[in-house]
Symmetry: C2
Subunit: 137 residues, 2 copies
């Protein structure tokens, strides 16, 4: 999965900011916040540029955005890149990590007549495997 190749495939200009974001998000084993991504990049970018890059990458379904409780925003590679179906997200109340539960497909909810279901977001909150074992922390 090469960031440059991904940008080309989507006819997006190859800028170091976009390239960097994609690289960092793909390499991570969990969803990352704006600041976590910035800290892992070599270059320095304006916040505006960051937001615009995120927006572009989300629109092209290269990454996706996960929002927890109105305030915590994290990004992860999109379905179309690594996953293959709608999946649930897990948020750890202790360490505040967010991970894509690639193995947990989202239930097909049946809606009342006349309603259409475009997309379903599932966020499971709890304690992650590491935080629930204090002895190995």
């Amino acid at each position: 999965m090469d960031p440059v190749e991904i940008l080309n495939r989507h006819n997006l200009k190859r800028t170091s900011c976009r390239e960097g974001i994609i690289g960092v998000v793909l390499k991570a084993n969990q969803a990352l916040s704006e600041n976590e991504i910035r800290n892992r990049l070599t270059g320095n970018y304006d916040r505006t540029t960051f937001y615009r890059s995120f927006k572009t990458l989300v629109q092209h379904k290269i990454i996706h955005k996960i929002v927890i409780d109105n305030q915590l925003v994290k990004y992860a590679p999109d379905n179309s890149i690594t996953h293959n179906f709608e999946h649930a997200h897990f948020y750890c109340n202790e360490c505040h990590s967010v991970v894509c539960m690639d193995d947990i497909p989202v239930q097909k909810y049946v809606l009342p007549n006349g309603y259409s279901n475009d997309e379903t977001e599932v966020l499971i909150k709890g304690t992650c495997g590491i935080c629930s074992k204090p002895e190995i922390k």
Copy 2:
């Protein structure tokens, strides 16, 4: 369901702001935003007071907060008042209404070993019954 009685039951002081919020939220047939609630109140309250009232009422599980896409915040009566199990929320992409799907219980998601599941949020996005029938709009 009397707002005054609810406040008493929770040992909360009976202020007109709290009383008003509870009354409006209980009467509504959908979740309401801060502004929608303000517009339905007679009294005028500072934004700070509003936020503090919401926080108190959420903490006491009198109302609950539903967040859509990081920006849209709505409130509805809590489970303990009207519902009796974890339920899904529906967001209409057209009219931006948010309703509690009291009849749609949340699936019990099975997590990997070591994970605990405290709470599950399900947000179904789509088109509501009214918006999908343009002829009756």
